[in-house]
């Protein structure tokens, strides 16, 4: 981890540490004030879900966007977090907070395990193996129905606690701040990682593998570090999701959730981290706004994803950048 500590020198077009730190603090302070505006528990529930999705999507952006590793088993890591927490907290009687961290640890170990077969592979083969891995995890959970409840899932999973505070009748304020704290920690970790030398080396591997290797970057080690790093907070998010929903079901392995989260990553614009978080807000709010449309909701979402991918391949961030450049040009050179 010594690689992490050495900052890379400033480069042209790169936002400086100070400016990013100010934006980071301001952005999350704004989020922390949201409960003042949204007092009802439904809005807060939507915000909590947004935070969870944002953690999962932004961590996926690390392996997919920065690392260029098409890990389609990312949601399986989330699911592993869900089931690790549920099994430990419900059946083994482990303290919920310890089970929460265990969710992240087990997901990280699983990520290391799935990295082994894909070390020598490229592109589409990585998609196929990781996709198969996700299905395998689901099959194993379904088959061990004595423990996991199979397709029925687990109910009455213990929630988190803070001393004697009543987590259920507080208008979800405690869960809101835990979810936000999770997002802050995860984002901080991800941004530090991608701005470090390790982050630069995985981008180098993505953009020019032969050259990066010839300059001494280890493909094997960096790929493992990338996937393990993207797994930890994903697993914790899964554990938190189980604690918050108080149940575990195999729906988390389904294609529909994977598609939604993946579109958050791509919609936000890959290799930005922040893009995935912004897209989580946009997509979740959009999806909730259409809750009355039933089956049409999924169809409209799918259509929207296709249209955005066709028109703005660089995602929402690309769209905002294009708009910004256009506005800036107007201001600089009044017609």
């Amino acid at each position: 981890m010594t690689l992490l500590n050495v900052a890379i020198p400033a480069a042209p077009g790169r936002v400086t540490w100070n400016r990013e730190a100010i934006g980071f603090v301001a952005g999350f302070l704004l989020l922390a004030l949201l409960p003042l505006v949204f007092g009802d528990s439904y809005s807060r529930h939507v915000l909590i879900m947004i935070f969870i999705y944002a953690v999962v999507a932004s961590n996926w952006d690390l392996s997919l966007g920065y690392g260029g590793v098409f890990n389609f088993g990312h949601l399986a890591l989330f699911g592993i977090g869900v089931y690790t927490y549920s099994l430990l907290a419900k059946l083994a009687g482990v303290d919920p907070w310890i089970a929460l961290v265990a969710g992240g640890v087990i997901a990280t170990l699983a990520a290391v395990l799935v990295t082994i077969p894909i070390l020598r592979l490229k592109g589409i083969y990585i998609i196929l193996v990781t996709f198969g891995f996700a299905q395998l995890v689901m099959q194993v959970i379904v088959s061990q129905s004595d423990l996991t409840g199979g397709t029925q899932g687990l109910v009455r999973v213990p929630g988190l606690y803070i001393f004697d505070h009543n987590m259920i009748r507080d208008g979800k304020i405690a869960y809101f701040y835990i979810a936000l704290a999770l997002l802050v920690l995860s984002t901080l970790f991800l941004r530090l990682f991608v701005r470090s030398r390790a982050g630069a080396s995985i981008v180098a591997l993505r953009d020019n593998e032969e050259y990066a290797i010839s300059r001494g970057v280890s493909l094997v080690r960096q790929r493992m570090v990338t996937l393990a790093a993207s797994a930890f907070f994903t697993g914790i998010a899964g554990a938190f999701y189980a604690a918050y929903q108080r149940n575990a079901s195999i729906d988390v392995f389904g294609m529909s959730l994977a598609t939604i989260i993946l579109s958050m990553v791509l919609l936000g614009g890959t290799a930005t981290i922040y893009g995935a978080i912004v897209a989580s807000f946009v997509l979740t709010v959009f999806s909730e706004a259409m809750a009355d449309f039933g089956a049409w909701r999924l169809m409209i979402s799918a259509l929207l994803i296709i249209v955005i991918m066709l028109v703005y391949p660089s995602g929402l961030v690309g769209m905002i950048r294009a708009a910004w450049t256009a506005v800036a040009d107007r201001i600089k050179r009044p017609a």
Partner: protein, 291 residues
Amino acid sequence: MSVFSDIFFGGLFQGSLYAMMAVGLALVWTTIGVFNFSHGVFMMLGAYFAWQLVAFGLPVVIAFPLAVIVMAGAGWILQASVVRPLIGRPNIVLVVVITTLAAGSLIENGALTVWGPRSKQLPSLIEGNTTIAGVGVSLHQIAIIVITPLILAALWSFLNRTRLGLALRAVAQNEDASHLVGLNVTALYGLAFAIAASLAGLAGIFMGGYRFMNPSMGADPLLKALIVVVFGGISSISGPIFAAYLIGFFEAASNYYFGLYWTPALLFLVLIATLMVRPEGIFASRSRGLA
């Protein structure tokens, strides 16, 4: 003896279905270089089109081929709408995965809205049962076992013996050179998708004849087809066909000896072992091309 013929027959039958699915995936991958994640949904759509045509009162002999032809059109439309506009983008593999996944979700939910969640069943190709080597089988399954190799052989001779098929292989081998010699590459992309969609639709019709259909019926066959193409090598047509039957036999044997629940895990282990020893698949040659 009965155990062996049970496994042999089951493997042959499953292998036929996997081969039909996997060939379409491989065809699209070799020609366009993208992976079609709505392939499983095509399978479902073919079965539902056939069901709808039968429900309209058409005889099976007309309804089934008609559904396959309609599926060719559906494949063409999907290609023109969510794949063709993306060709030339640097991250096309990833973007097409997401657009075909989204298109698959769109079609699946559309089917759910149109036909409802209730399970349906298609008429069998041939009614009746028989006993071969001590195993009771339906004639429908026998028909599938016999028809599939014929269709795959027809596809093979199309790709190797006709000008159009050769043109398709040329695009698969070298797109720029194909442009230079005046091939209509865009149309050939559409053709590859149309053929793949028809084959998937046919597999769906076969499946709908012995198992209940529902809008999400394509998910599991898609996964199996993925395993098959990885196992057999994605860069040819013959590799996945052999692999499909091998996987079919393996699955049948594993179901018998290790049980239904452990089979997916074992399949996955086989897949990983294959990838670690021969990442290009066990039947693959080193070059990309159709044959």
